[in-house]
């Protein structure tokens, strides 16, 4: 059976030994202890498991690990710049500023989905946010605040000198 023995995760090469048919979600959580990526449904309906693969939001619960070998993967643990100062990514900052969470289970996937949306559309309209984020479920219902956070992050990123 085909095996995956290394993955490019958060700028680091990680060694492992996993059946290539396993889900990326399970490999992240169970083999690599990257539990910031959440299970919500296992069928691609809630997007709590979203990570970035080649910069694109990807539902890790319906992605086989064999399909992402060799591609750069970013999980929530690797989103913030790796600096001793411990800064956050503008989208993470914006989620805090807008209080765009309650229980927080959907938040990592929500943030990575928002990063993907802002890459495609740096200053999205409300309608673009709804279309771009509709695959994500927040059962606590903080949707309007998440939309506000995305607007805040868009403003932060378009200011001169903003985080790249």
């Amino acid at each position: 059976m085909a095996r995956v023995t290394q993955l490019e995760i958060n700028g680091t090469r990680r060694h492992l030994d996993a059946d290539s048919d396993r889900t990326l979600l399970s490999v992240l959580r169970d083999d690599l202890a990257l539990t910031g990526t959440k299970y919500g449904c296992g069928e691609g309906q809630c997007a709590a498991c979203t990570v970035l693969v080649d910069g694109m939001p990807t539902k890790s619960c319906i992605t086989k690990v064999g399909a992402v070998a060799g591609k750069p993967i970013v999980t929530i643990e690797g989103l913030a710049p790796q600096s001793p100062a411990g800064g956050l990514h503008p989208v993470q900052e914006a989620f805090l500023e807008a209080d765009a969470m309650q229980c927080g289970w959907c938040t990592p996937g929500m943030i990575l989905g928002a990063v993907g949306l802002l890459t495609r559309s740096p200053n999205p309209t409300d309608a673009e946010i709804v279309t771009g984020m509709n695959g994500h479920i927040c059962r606590c219902g903080t949707y309007p605040r998440i939309a506000r956070a995305i607007h805040i992050a868009a403003q932060k990123s378009t200011k001169p000198g903003a985080h790249a």
Partner: protein, 689 residues
Amino acid sequence: MTRREFFAIVGGGIVVILIPDDSDAQESGGGARRGMNQRMPEQVNAWLHIAEDGSITVYTGKVEVGQNARTSLTQAAAEELHAPVASIRLVMGDTALTPFDMGTFGSMTTPNMWPQIRKASAAAREMLIDLASQRWMVGRAAIAVADGKVSAGQRSTGFGDLTHGEKLVRTIPAGAALTPASEWKVAGHSVQKVNGREIVTGAHPYAYDVHRPGMLYAKVLYPPSFGAKLASLDTSETEAIPGVKVVRRKISGEREAGSDLVGVLAADPATAEKALAALKAEWTPLNGHPSSKDVFDYFRQTAPESVSPRLDLASYTVAYIAHVPLEPRGAVAEWSEDGKLMVWTGSQRPFGVRSELATEFGIPEDSVHVIVPDTGSGYGGKHQGDAAVEAAVLAKAAGKPVKRNWTREEEMTWAYFRPGGLIEAGGKVNPDGALAAWEFHNYNSGPSALQTPYRVAEKHEQFHRSKSPLRQGSYRGLAATANHFVRESVMDDLAHSVSMDPLEFRLKNLDNERLRNVLTAAAERFGWAHRKRAPGRGFGLAAGVEKGGYIATCAEISVANGAVKVVRVVEAFECGAIVNPEHLANQVEGAVAMGIGGALFEHVDFAGGKVITNRLARYRVPRFADMPVIESVLLDRKDIPSAGAGETPIVGVAPAIANAIFDATGQRLRSLPLVANGLPALSASSALA
């Protein structure tokens, strides 16, 4: 536990123990200097420790499930201790470290625990003043506590400097004095979620994320339908898989799946899944299980008494709905060599789960340690310890730590549901619009908010405890949503029957000042008086009171091609003095968002003992596209003690939307969800009429 043992755990410093008002408070004050071998009091609500390094830790059995109790309780301590929010740490929901607590439900954290932590913190501040007064030999009046420092004139020091070398315990009764809301500096303000950074970086370990060395992954065999009994089980194929263990045990706890727990264990989750699939089980089904289509007749048939209505009653139905906490139930269990059990699980009742586990294994509660990390929501759905019991039974059999995380399908089948209900209600109104008589019967969905807040001379209200074919339990607001839906729909019909404006009609029949205030506030922000009627547009309102919170909701909807879209919701809420305005607004908005699901489309379909809506692909929950503009109007009553806010803001959503649909279409929809399959056929034409 003796004081000596207690300090061995927490280290030196000072401890304030808050005991209930009704227990023996003889130790007050003088208790501080008593012997170290004295036992700690049995009945304790909360305790607070200021360590020798000045770190402040508050211990409470409440849990954080997204309602931001961790933040509000931190604010409580910061307010009375006069210390920065960042200097305070809360230990929550840990049965070995925190005092017993019934559980986090019923919107009780704010009215009960919040003032208690304030009292403990106020007492700790006074102890610091005592210590400074003794050390500096100055009168207490000359000493001030601010921003985490104690000072007198030029002298100033941190809390740790004063508590260093001390081992003081003060036991205080719950009835101590507090800073009035009008003088709050930290409480009443929008402090950010205290562990928000751990959430946005993915660093917070939820129960679902816990990992223990040598841990095995478990899968559990569930029947194909409710009540089915295991007739035969062939485990040979499963046991042939290397590294797999099959466990079959009788268990005693409440368990729909039957009394035998059959689990498989493997070193990784993929192997555990294969092991489960390889089990060959035969089942004897339970016949005659009602379906979601005939359950409402079943409620009436199984009610203990038959009703002879006094008035003309209309029949309403409310579907079962699922909590869908985004973190499903899960637990990790680990037994120590001396027979002690440690369990990490997401629950609203850590001590209830401890009790379930102690009963299951016949061991003392002291031998069970339950830890509840901040949890991926509950909404009333996480009261039981099912996953914890499964993990603990399997871990005991395996002799290794075991992780038992439920899948979404298991969560949506084997958890419990918000009860369905049949409600029959009606009223009589005088030509001048005064409510003259009222009758209300609720079958199965529950008695909360059963009683009308409106003035009426003659009324009859009754809850009928029917049988439920599904396992049912608590839910955000529970039956208050069903009862408000029906009451406020009937009130709307009564208003129209005397050609009165729905707002005017409610105000005419309402004495309660707090309820009148939220109604007026919501209507004013919404622009109720100036609403512009147009084809395909509808406006509705609803009001109510539950768990000390007063709510009024105004909704605007649009109807096009039989589809209903909620366009705008204005909700006014008053629950006494506001603890954290931003977090309160977040709760109100979230309740509106969640309420839209139950109002418009959420329902559990079941037939033949199976849940058909057992996955998110089959059970629709609100998404971004379902969101209206949501505006909250928060009334701050600094003169009234704070009540909880996690539940009540949901109760007005369904009736406000139902009344708006009536306004737009002339159709009185009497079932929740209102439009699971779009509006009934005649709607399109009447909407355009």
